[in-house]
């Protein structure tokens, strides 16, 4: 048996490198520190390289989600429709919101579907990291792939729901018009906003799992304040300027109004509905654009700042 001192030479650098410290050796051969956060541009490049994974992951999740349910992916459409029915019963029939309101069912359904899009982005964003720790601890990929993939899932679901929404809107007597095209830029802006929010929530949710207990309350408060089942503009004059401003810039109602106006412009037409016609706040597109761009940028940088910490400890 050989001595213990001899095997150490397997680790030690040989020949020209003999005597170098580990740090010097690492520098000489250009080795990098394992697990360090890449720069913002390098990170974006890595993320772009994983775009096929993000898409495949989102599609796979969507398919896997409903394999146990007998009705399968039909639930994607049935759930928001049931929500619409409940809201119609409570706010339309019992609280009598619908009388005189132009196309109340179309108004309500668009509101519910659009709000649901943001709501599920927040919810799945919060769990994006904590529910996928196994994946994070096993493989290397830009972690932002996960919240983004979950937003893609919501978008895919919304596109299916959109078909149903169009059927509902047409059934209430709204005629198809060229303004329908505006749904596309509005949804793109809302997707950007949702991605930003999902990234922010993903970082918070990864650190403090308590937050997922609070989310349902926050989302319900947001839902009731966003004018899903009533009109903010009908009441806005009664409020103080601060609340007026808050209710107007609320991103959920901004995107809701954009899509309502795109799908059913006649709701806002004074010549048809006179005093019952809905009013649109000013600068709606500017607000939608600002929310989308700013939130996406903030969320992306905020998430990237903690990149090396996800899935640890």
């Amino acid at each position: 048996m050989s001595t213990v001192s001899e095997p150490v030479s397997l680790s030690a650098p040989r020949g020209a490198d003999a005597g170098l410290t580990p740090k010097q050796l690492a520098d000489k051969y250009g080795l990098s520190v394992s697990g360090r956060r890449p720069g913002l541009i390098a990170y974006t490049k890595q993320l772009w390289a994983r775009r096929h994974f993000i898409w495949a992951f989102a599609t796979a999740r969507l398919v896997a989600q409903y394999t146990d349910a007998k009705l399968g992916q039909l639930w994607q459409v049935v759930t928001p429709l049931l929500n619409c029915a409940v809201f119609y019963l409570v706010f339309g029939v019992i609280l009598n919101n619908k009388d005189g309101f132009p196309k109340y069912i179309a108004w309500l359904c668009i509101g519910v579907f659009v709000f649901q899009f943001t709501q599920s982005a927040v919810q799945s964003g919060t769990r994006a990291i904590s529910d996928n720790l196994g994946l994070i601890r096993a493989l290397h990929f830009p972690r932002a792939s996960l919240p983004i993939a979950f937003t893609v899932i919501q978008l895919q679901q919304l596109l299916i729901s959109m078909v149903v929404l169009v059927v509902v809107v047409v059934a209430t007597g709204v005629k198809p018009s060229v303004t329908w095209v505006l749904v596309i830029p509005a949804l793109i802006l809302q997707s950007m906003f949702n991605t930003g929010v999902a990234l922010i929530m993903a970082r918070i949710g990864a650190k403090t799992s308590d937050i997922s207990q609070l989310i349902p309350f926050a989302m319900r408060a947001w839902l009731y304040m966003s004018g899903v089942m009533y009109s903010i503009q009908d009441r806005i004059d009664k409020w103080t300027p601060a609340i007026q401003w808050l209710m107007t810039v609320n991103p959920a109602s901004v995107y809701m109004d954009l899509i309502r106006h795109a799908l059913a412009p006649e709701i806002y037409n004074k010549h048809i509905y006179g005093e019952h016609a809905q009013k649109l706040p000013h600068h709606l597109w500017a607000m939608g654009l600002a929310w989308g761009v700013v939130l996406l940028a903030i969320g992306y940088v905020f998430f990237w700042k903690a990149e090396e910490e996800y899935g640890r400890g």
Partner: protein, 269 residues
């Protein structure tokens, strides 16, 4: 076996030639912080009193998993990591992969070391076919390469030997079949530094032989392979160098025959 012996001789003969390092582990300490490890004080009243008294959660305990390990691995090496359960082998591997932060010291690597752990990306509800594609994309392969390698992966896994199983959901697979498919996906990509944690003990005899051959190929085309295993015979077959870790400390680092021999006899130097 013949070429493994050859490479062993190379190391002895090339004593004066500078080698290219791929992984440098420099005096690394790793500490786990375990939350809620206290005496079961997760009740509501204790949570409230903890908030009121503004104390940091009392249930945090520190586990010093790795204490000052240093070694350097070079291109072309297959390094085995042995030691009893809880000695810090898997922790060391995760730290090399960059998945765990070090408390002190540094780990320098050539390229991105990958843990052979693609199983986490797979979904049991999906067909084997979709899982192959998803797993490859998760490892960062471009779609064209996935299409090119798809047939090889399925053939290597041997899933279709007993009928068309690849188009069935993975939840219908036996545990051995699932493990084989996971290994086949993970081993499809060539890595600069490949880290394998107890993945060789899966599948039947024929599959184990095939996977050992595949690791040998990966090692030649890639750079360095690390293998954690309690199966000393697979360490002997695959690795020419072995590091013995105990209580988070490096006990011995040397040629496999010598280190594993001493480990089996329980002779700590």
């Amino acid at each position: 076996m013949a070429d493994i012996d050859l490479s062993k001789n190379d190391i002895v003969r090339d004593a004066d030639v500078a080698r290219e390092p791929t992984v440098i582990v420099d005096d690394v300490h790793i500490v786990y912080r375990v939350h809620g490890a206290g005496s079961g004080k997760g009740s509501a009243t204790s949570a409230v009193s903890r908030i009121l008294s503004r104390k940091r959660s009392a249930g945090v305990r520190e586990v010093h998993a790795v204490r000052g390990i240093s070694f350097t691995a070079y291109k072309g090496e297959a390094v085995g990591l042995i030691g009893s359960n809880g000695s810090g082998k898997s922790t060391m591997l995760a730290a090399i992969a960059g998945l765990l932060p070090t408390e002190k010291g540094g780990i320098y690597t050539n390229g991105q070391p990958s843990l052979l752990g693609v199983n986490a990306a797979l979904m049991n509800e999906l067909t084997g076919e979709r899982n192959v594609i998803l797993g490859c994309l998760a490892m960062g392969m471009p779609p064209a390469e996935v299409r090119r390698r798809y047939d090889d992966i399925v053939e290597f896994s041997g899933i279709n030997e007993k009928g068309d199983f690849i188009s069935l959901p993975m939840r219908t697979y036996s545990s051995g079949m699932g493990a084989r498919l996971r290994f086949s996906i993970a081993a499809a990509k060539t890595h600069d530094v490949l880290l394998i944690d107890e993945a060789l003990a899966t599948g039947d005899q024929a599959f184990q032989q095939r996977s050992k051959k595949r690791i040998e190929e990966l090692r030649k085309s890639a750079g360095t392979v690390f293998l954690v295993s309690h199966d000393n015979s697979s360490i002997r077959e695959v690795c020419e160098r072995t590091i013995w870790i105990e209580h988070g400390e490096l006990v011995m680092d040397g040629p496999t025959d010598e280190v594993v021999g001493r480990y089996e006899r329980g002779e700590r130097p």
